[in-house]
């Protein structure tokens, strides 16, 4: 391996980081309201389209717009689709989120047709840098660093701010937290905003790597991230992040290290791994504590 080792690891970490952020975005909402939000896919796709629409504008403008669009979309879906269903059983909410996801996807097809659109939001990061004597792709390195910074920022937010404390409390026992004065609407809105922020960052970094966007752009990453949250342990943020990271790293490493004729079956190997994990730890790697709702 030698000099190939560092680029492969950076590659694996950048994919793992994106899955971790996506799984966290899903996990944040799940932990406070037991909604497995399939529409997270569109929280990623829609800002990627914003990048496409604004591709003639300066990077700062298009990225800010992408973030804003994601946040507004998340708040609107929360208000219009999920708030009326609050407290309903998780299966029904999951189905509702499928419906929201499909609806937005159709809107995108209607507005932009279903062909792929080129995007290149981070053209400034084309090229490579030397790292420990190896040439490393600048975009991938930036992705790894961004993911790391966001993970740390989110941890600090959850651990050391009043909002974060309220969110963790709501995740453990929603009714008890409300009895202590935690406002349900505010906690849930905060979860949606954070989830949208993470989704927008994933949209920027992922579309910069793939170079195009299409109506099912977010779906491909969200399906894998869903699997990752199950491996990590539903309702546990650390588990979601670790699960996402592992799935990304393992699938990238398989891609790099499997003999070429086995590479097409890379996903099959990943899912095999998932099945093995769930056979031995049906609750995931990090089972969630108190999933209780009522007092």
């Amino acid at each position: 391996m030698g000099s190939a080792f560092i680029p492969i690891m950076i590659d694996a970490f950048s994919v793992g980081g994106l899955y971790a952020l996506t799984a966290l975005g899903i996990g944040l909402i799940f932990s406070v309201m037991r909604l497995a939000n399939f529409a997270h896919a569109e929280f990623v796709t829609v800002p990627a389209y914003a990048l496409f629409v604004l591709s003639d504008h300066p990077v700062v403008v298009s990225i800010s717009a992408a973030v804003l669009v994601a946040v507004v979309l998340a708040l609107v879906t929360e208000r219009a689709a999920f708030r009326p269903l609050r407290g309903i059983d998780p299966a029904t909410m999951l189905i509702a989120s499928f419906a929201v996801s499909m609806f937005i996807q159709r809107l995108l097809v209607f507005a932009f047709d279903s062909r792929i659109k080129p995007v290149n939001p981070l053209a400034v990061l084309d090229g490579s840098v030397a790292l420990f004597g190896a040439q490393v792709n600048l975009l991938k390195l930036t992705t790894v660093i961004t993911c790391l910074v966001l993970l740390i920022a989110l941890t600090v937010f959850l651990k050391y701010t009043r909002f974060g404390l309220e969110m963790r409390a709501a995740a453990e026992d929603f009714t008890m937290s409300r009895l202590l004065g935690v406002r349900a609407n505010r906690v849930i809105a905060t979860a949606f905003v954070l989830s949208a922020l993470l989704a927008a960052v994933v949209a920027v970094l992922f579309s910069a790597q793939t170079g195009f966007v299409h109506p099912r752009f977010g779906l491909q990453i969200v399906i894998i991230a869903f699997v990752a949250t199950v491996i990590g342990g539903l309702g546990n943020l650390l588990g979601a992040a670790v699960g996402g990271f592992l799935v990304g790293v393992v699938s990238t490493l398989l891609q790099a290290l499997l003999p070429p004729d086995l590479r097409p079956f890379r996903e099959a190997f990943v899912f095999l791994l998932v099945i093995l994990v769930l056979l031995f730890r049906p609750q995931g790697l990090f089972p969630a504590r108190g999933l209780k709702e009522r007092i």
């Binding site: 404390l165 963790r168 409390a169 453990e172 008890m176 937290s177 009895l179 202590l180 935690v182 349900a184």
Partner: protein, 243 residues
Amino acid sequence: MTALLEIRNLTVQYGRINALTDVDIDVSEGEIVSIIGPNGAGKTSLLSTIAGVVPAAGGTITFRGEDILRLPLEESVRKGIALVPEGRHVLPGLTVLENLRLGATIRSDTPEVRRDIERFLDAFPILRERRNEPAGRLSGGEQQMLVIARALMSRPRLLMLDEPSLGLGPQIVDKVYDMISDTRDQGVTILVVEQNARRALAVADRTHVLNGGIIRLSGTAETLSGDPDFEAAYFGLRSVADG
């Protein structure tokens, strides 16, 4: 004397089950009122409805002259009502300190909040010792102290406790009831429900016996323990239920 809490004709239903029927209760400022009754009597339903967790099917609940029946539950603590629910409900993965801090969610006077937390940690050295540990690791008695302290962090006017002695040994129950008396001495009004009749009678100024969702008897510890109907009311014998 004007009542702090005034409950009239309160009826609570789960589907077709009547958990409470036409319940009238007054609690005056500075009092300890207890409600005793067997399992399934409707005690938890009563406190849950006052706190806004469970909706009422009929009747009124007035707190400090204000109708609070339809308030969302996170507002009742802002009005000055704190509930320590049945089964304690510490936030198990949060630390002892974080649990106490959450009790002060509605307050913005940070230095005062800190001082209140210090006071509770002084009063319960075991909580201080374990302040950075997840609350779920505390023993049942320690958790009960913690959730009462947490409820008091909101500086309520009315503290409601749902079976605070449940599952605790006698010495711990003594401590919990000492804490309840101390709390009243600091000017907090208390409404406590229990299956454990002896404790709840002894601590309270007035007690109601609840059974089958109906208040069967009311009085002080003396009048009730001398009342020939007391046991029948508590255990729900027909003669009293109908008479």
